[in-house]
Point group: C2
C-alpha cells in the first residue's frame, strides 16, 4: 500500500542551543516563522486550520501544567484548535504522524506541527532526568538515560566485538556533520581520541558518547497532497509511518542488542510506505548515545544485526557513504530538545529530499528519507516517519 | 456536512474516587476492561490497532515524564502504537477527537481511547493547582482554578442578576444526578442551603460550588462506521467535533460573561455535525465550578446569554427538564480526574443514547448528545464532541 495523501510544504527550525534569552512561546514562534518562510509560493499564517504541538514536559520542565494550547496565542493564531502530543523522546515524530492523520481524515486541509522544548531553564536536579524514575518500586531507581542505554552497549560489545572506537566513530561522524549544520548546538569537529578521553558517564559510555541538553524548536506545514501545488512545485509527501511500544522495564526486555519497538515500528513504516531499507537515501535516527545509533541502523535494516559498529567505523554512514545517517549532526551534535527533535529531524529530511542541505547534501537515488526516534522508560516506544518526493 | 465515519462500539469507566489502592496502570486497565465488556457482540483486546491516552500530568502529577506509552504493556497490548494527548482539562475530549481522526484517516480501523488521571497521590501543594502558575511574570501569580473562574461569577451576577442560589442550584442538581450514578465520586444529595453554608473558597464560589480532586479512568472503543455492525447492533456515531483556543491570560479576555473558546468550538462542532443546540437530547458539560456550567449552557446555545442561572434554578437542565445537563453528576459530583473526565462524559453520552442510563435516563427525541470541556490557563481551550445514533 502506498499512502502519500499528505504533503509537507514547509519546514524550519531555530538555531538549537542554550536559549536562556527566549521563552518557550518565543521559540515556538521562531520555528513557525521559519516554516512559513520556507514555503515556495508563500504562505499566510491564517491558512493554518489546526496545530499539534510536541512538548515532552509542558513548560519549565513540567512545573507548568500545559504547553500546547498556549502556542496559538503566541504565534498570532489564537482560536485555532491546538493539541499537545507527548510520547517521550518521539514526541515530535508522533505529533507529525498525528498531524498527518488529521489531514488524511478530511477534517483539516492545512495543519501545523510544532515541536518545542525548554531543557535548560531548570537545573538537572529539577529536570527530566532526575524525575524520569518510574512507578515500579524497585526496578527503576537511579534510571537516568545513560543507565538505560549502557547495558545495550556492554552486551553489543560482548556479542559482536563492538569496540569503544566504533562507538566513538558515531560521535565523530555526527559532530563532523553538525559542524556543517548552521542550526546545530555544537558545530565543531571532534576526534576518536576526544571521545575516548572524555569523562566516563556510565561505562562504557563517556561524555562525548552522550547527547547534550539543548533548547530548541522546529515546525512543519502539512497539507492535503492534492492541494500541495498551491504552495510549492517541489512537494515532499508523507509516504508512511510506524509506531510501536514495548514493555517499559529493562528486566522485561527480550534482547539487549536491539530495540524491539524500533524493529516493529520499522516493519509497519516500510509496509505502509511500500519501501525497503535499500530504498532509503538518508536517515535521521535517534542517537541519544552512540550505541543507540548503532542499534538503530541495525534495527532499521540498514546493516545486519551486529554490524552497526563496524559499518560506522568504516564510514558506511557518512555523508558520502552507502547510507548517510544523521546528516544534521544528530542528537549528539545538533542537540536533543525532546519535543523539537523529531520535527527537526523531519526538517533535515525535507531539506535533503529537496536538495537544499548545502554542505551536507547527500546523493538522491530513490527520493526517500527516513526519520526515527526511540524513547520512554527502557526504550518503550519507537516512532518512524518516511518522506518521499515520489508522486502519490 | 454530516460526518459520521467513526462509530463508538464500547465505553466504560471505573468507579471514581480516592483510589490510593490502585496504580495509574491498574486504573487504565480497569477502564479498558469495562469498555471491552460493554461491546455487544464481544471484543478481543488484540483487535485494538492503536491507542490514545489522555493524561494531563503524566503520572504522579508530572513527577514522571511519561504516562502514555507505558499503558499498552499494562493492559496486555505491548507493541501497539500509543500516543499521549494532553490538552489541559479537555485532554480526554481531545484524545477522543484525535482517535476519531486516526480512524477516519484510514490508517487504523479499531482505536482505543483511554483517559486516566491520578489526582490524589500527591498533596495539593505538590500537585497541579499549586504549579499551574504560568510563564507571565506578573499576571499569573496565585492563579489557582477558583481564582480563574470567580471573576466570571462576579461579573455574571453584576450584569444579569445571577444569584448565589442560582449557582447553588447547579450543584444541587448535579449531586442529585450523581446520587444516581454508581461511578460517581460523591453519591449523596445536597441542598441549596448546604452550598450556601459551605466555606468560601474564592468569593462568590464556596466549597460546594467547586468540583473535588478525584482519581479515575475511562475508555472508549472507536471503529470505522462501516464495520461497526461486527461489534454491535446499536452503534453510536461520532457526528462531529470542534476545538478552539483563546488567549490564555485573564487580562486578554474580551468578555467575563462567556468563554470565547467554547463559543467558537460550538460553532465548529455544530457545523461539522450539521445539528443545532435544539437537536441535542442531553449534554455533559464542564462544571468545574457552578458558574462554569452556567456559562457553558449559554455559550453552547442551550439558553440565551444571561439566562443560565435562571434556567438552572427553574429546573430546565434537570433529568426531566428541557435540556438535561450533566446527568452523570458532572465534575461537581462524579469528579474531575482530568485526563479521564472527557472520556467519562462521552461514556455517559453513549449510555444515554443507547438507553442504558438507568435512573438517569433522559428522553431521547433527536438521538444526539453533546460532550464539552473547557480548560487551560484562563479557559484557553475548549473541546466539544457530538455523538449520534442517526445512521451515517
Amino acid at each position: 500500500m502506498s499512502w502519500n495523501r499528505v504533503a509537507v510544504v514547509g519546514a524550519g527550525l531555530i538555531k538549537f542551543g542554550e536559549l536562556f534569552d527566549q521563552s518557550y512561546e518565543q521559540m515556538a514562534a521562531g520555528a513557525f516563522a521559519a516554516a512559513v518562510d520556507s514555503v515556495d509560493h508563500g504562505f499566510e499564517p491564517s491558512q493554518v486550520e489546526a496545530a499539534f504541538v510536541a512538548t515532552q514536559r509542558g513548560t519549565l520542565w513540567g512545573q507548568e501544567g500545559i504547553g500546547g494550547n498556549t502556542v496559538p496565542s503566541a504565534i498570532g493564531l489564537a482560536g485555532i484548535p491546538c493539541t499537545r502530543i507527548e510520547n517521550a523522546c518521539p514526541s515530535g515524530s508522533d505529533a507529525f504522524r498525528v498531524g498527518a492523520m488529521a489531514v488524511a481524515s478530511g477534517v483539516h486541509d492545512v495543519v501545523l506541527v510544532i515541536g518545542v522544548e525548554k531543557m535548560r531553564d531548570k537545573s538537572a536536579e529539577e529536570g527530566l532526568l532526575a524525575r524520569a524514575a518510574a512507578g515500579h518500586p524497585i526496578f527503576t531507581r537511579g534510571e537516568t538515560a545513560p543507565v538505560l542505554f549502557a547495558p545495550f552497549a556492554t552486551r553489543h560489545m560482548h556479542e559482536f566485538g563492538t569496540t569503544r572506537e566504533m562507538l566513538a566513530s558515531v560521535a565523530v561522524k555526527n559532530h563532523y556533520n553538525g559542524a556543517r549544520d548552521p542550526y546545530a548546538h555544537f558545530q565543531s569537529e571532534i576526534t576518536v581520541e576526544d571521545v575516548l578521553a572524555s569523562p566516563s558517564v556510565c561505562s562504557p559510555l563517556h561524555l562525548l558518547d552522550c547527547c547534550p541538553q539543548t533548547d530548541g524548536a522546529a515546525a512543519t506545514l502539512l497539507v492535503r497532497a492534492d492541494i500541495a501545488e498551491r504552495f510549492t512545485d517541489h512537494p515532499v509527501y508523507v509516504a508512511g509511518f510506524g509506531v510501536a511500544t514495548d514493555h517499559p522495564y529493562l528486566h522485561e526486555k527480550s534482547s539487549f542488542v536491539g530495540l524491539k519497538a524500533t524493529q516493529l515500528a520499522a516493519e509497519r513504516a516500510y509496509a505502509m510506505a511500500d519501501v525497503s531499507p535499500a530504498d532509503i537515501d538518508c536517515a535521521e535516527v535517534h542517537d541519544c548515545f552512540t550505541i543507540t545509533e548503532i542499534l538503530d541502523i541495525e534495527d532499521l535494516g540498514f546493516v545486519d544485526k551486529g554490524k552497526g559498529g563496524v559499518a560506522s567505523l568504516d564510514g558506511e554512514t557518512s555523508l558520502t557513504g552507502r547510507i548517510p545517517i544523521n546528516t544534521s549532526g544528530g542528537l549528539l551534535a545538533k542537540g536533543h530538545p525532546i519535543g523539537a527533535t523529531g520535527v527537526a529531524q523531519l526538517t533535515e529530511c525535507w531539506w535533503q529530499l529537496r536538495g537544499e542541505a548545502g554542505d551536507r547534501q547527500v546523493e538522491l537515488r530513490h527520493g526517500n528519507a527516513l526519520q526515527h526516534n526511540v524513547g520512554g522508560r527502557g526504550s518503550g516506544v519507537s516512532v518512524i516517519n518516511i518522506l518521499t518526493t515520489n508522486q502519490p
